[in-house]
């Protein structure tokens, strides 16, 4: 099963027999059996035939739409899964402050521990780096988590921990030509921020699909508050995966010189930086490889890929909400 990325502006997506057929100016770009696909990501603009749209919804294949620079625009989702029990447990938990707090803490603990472990590994491998202070301050934020009394203070610790992490992020880039001072977005103003934003958009497509498969309402979160049209639960579950999947993959791309400073272009007016078409393909391939890479899941005690882990974590979350387990274990990797 694979994801289809549509890179060609104004491509036409149609159906031919039981296959997805993508054409542009009468030229066939891709023809692939629908049973081989589990998601479509459209970058830029595309046309869909009505027959294909119906078929995709029927086969429960979600489509995400990203702007040409990789900003997340929205998605077309098949009917929500029929698992009403999960959703009602989710709504009930959101009314219970102690369960909401438990989950908010868990998501933030997952994220910060993964950030800290990344920095510790970098420090071990490159003793000349100066990240010890950041590690300590992230550790302090982690230690303070159990003492938090409401979700707002959890958010505060998350913000402080992230800030310490991104303050030393530049040191993890060991090639010349890239700089990173702070995280900026909408639009991202330098290559590293552009990659982070793009990577998080892709991650969101995958996490939201996993949540839907398990039967959650992705719009009701615990750490992220309700806002019209914002899939807060997807953003919640993303936290622990951000450093593991996206940040690690981007550092890999930069440090192995898969991407060069010349692969980026910036828009004159807004200063928005984005990847050029060829490099974008390379980036998508790296992301896909990262998702397919295997590691040992500590809770399940077996090998799995990150792609599978998205769904595993969603299932662990549903177990907690349904009262089958006493806590939600975020994915933390050493």
């Amino acid at each position: 099963m694979g994801t289809v990325y549509v890179n060609q502006e104004d491509a036409f997506l149609g159906r031919s027999d039981e296959r997805l057929k993508i054409t542009h100016e009468r030229r066939t770009l891709l023809e692939v059996p629908l049973l081989r696909i589990d998601g479509i990501v459209v970058l830029g603009r595309a046309h869909f035939s009505p027959a294909l749209m119906g078929e995709l919804l029927e086969r429960r294949i979600p489509m995400s739409f990203l702007s040409p620079t990789g900003r997340y625009l929205g998605r077309v989702e098949p009917e929500l899964s029929k698992n009403i029990f999960v959703r009602s447990a989710q709504w009930r938990a959101s009314e219970q402050p102690e369960r909401t707090l438990h989950l908010a803490r868990a998501f933030v603990r997952g994220k910060l521990k993964n950030c800290r472990n990344d920095l510790m590994r970098a420090q071990r491998e490159h003793p000349e780096l100066n990240v010890q202070k950041a590690i300590e301050s992230i550790q302090q934020n982690i230690d303070a988590l159990p003492r938090t009394e409401n979700v707002d203070s959890v958010r505060g610790l998350e913000g402080a921990g992230s800030a310490s992490y991104f303050a030393v992020f530049e040191q993890l880039i060991r090639v010349k030509g890239f700089s990173f001072t702070h995280r900026n977005r909408r639009p991202p103003l330098d290559p590293v921020n552009a990659l982070l934003s793009f990577g998080y958009s892709l991650l969101r497509h995958d996490i939201q699909s996993a949540l839907n498969i398990v039967g959650f309402d992705p719009y009701l979160g615990f750490l992220h508050t309700q806002r019209y049209g914002r899939p807060s639960l997807a953003l919640d579950l993303m936290e622990e995966f951000r450093p593991l999947v996206v940040d690690a993959m981007i550092l890999g791309c930069l440090n192995k010189s898969v991407l060069q400073p010349t692969d980026f272009e910036s828009e004159p007016l807004s200063g928005a930086v984005s990847l050029n078409a060829e490099a974008r393909k390379q980036f998508l391939r790296q992301y896909e490889q990262k998702k397919q890479s295997r590691f040992r899941h500590l809770v399940l005690e077996k090998q799995c890929t990150y792609q599978e882990a998205f769904e595993i974590q969603a299932r662990l979350l549903s177990k907690y909400l349904l009262g089958e387990t006493h806590q939600y274990p975020p994915l933390i990797l050493k």
Partner: protein
């Protein structure tokens, strides 16, 4: 399951139809030979589609099943390399 499908259809129009149906279920590897990696449901669907298309007195289609441990042992000389199906690009 990994299925090797081979067919012998004298009528051009019917052969095209069969070929077209098979393209939705697997990889065309040689003239009249497809490799399909299918679950039970999809195999049943494919089989039903094909049996509705053929004329049993003239045509023949064969399905060879390869076990999980045998399919990685396929040796290929020449031809297209096997495709990676975790990512597809259009454009």
């Amino acid at each position: 399951m990994f299925v090797l499908v081979s067919y012998d259809i004298p009528n051009d129009k019917r052969r095209t139809k069969i070929h077209n149906a098979l393209k939705s279920y697997g990889e065309w590897v040689q003239f009249s030979v497809f490799e399909c990696d299918l679950d039970d449901t999809n195999y049943a669907r494919l089989r039903a589609r094909l049996s509705a298309l053929i004329k049993p007195e003239e045509d023949s289609i064969r399905f060879y099943f390869l076990c999980r441990t045998c399919s990685p042992k396929i040796e290929r000389i020449g031809g297209k390399p096997p495709t990676d199906d975790s990512i597809f690009f259009a454009g």
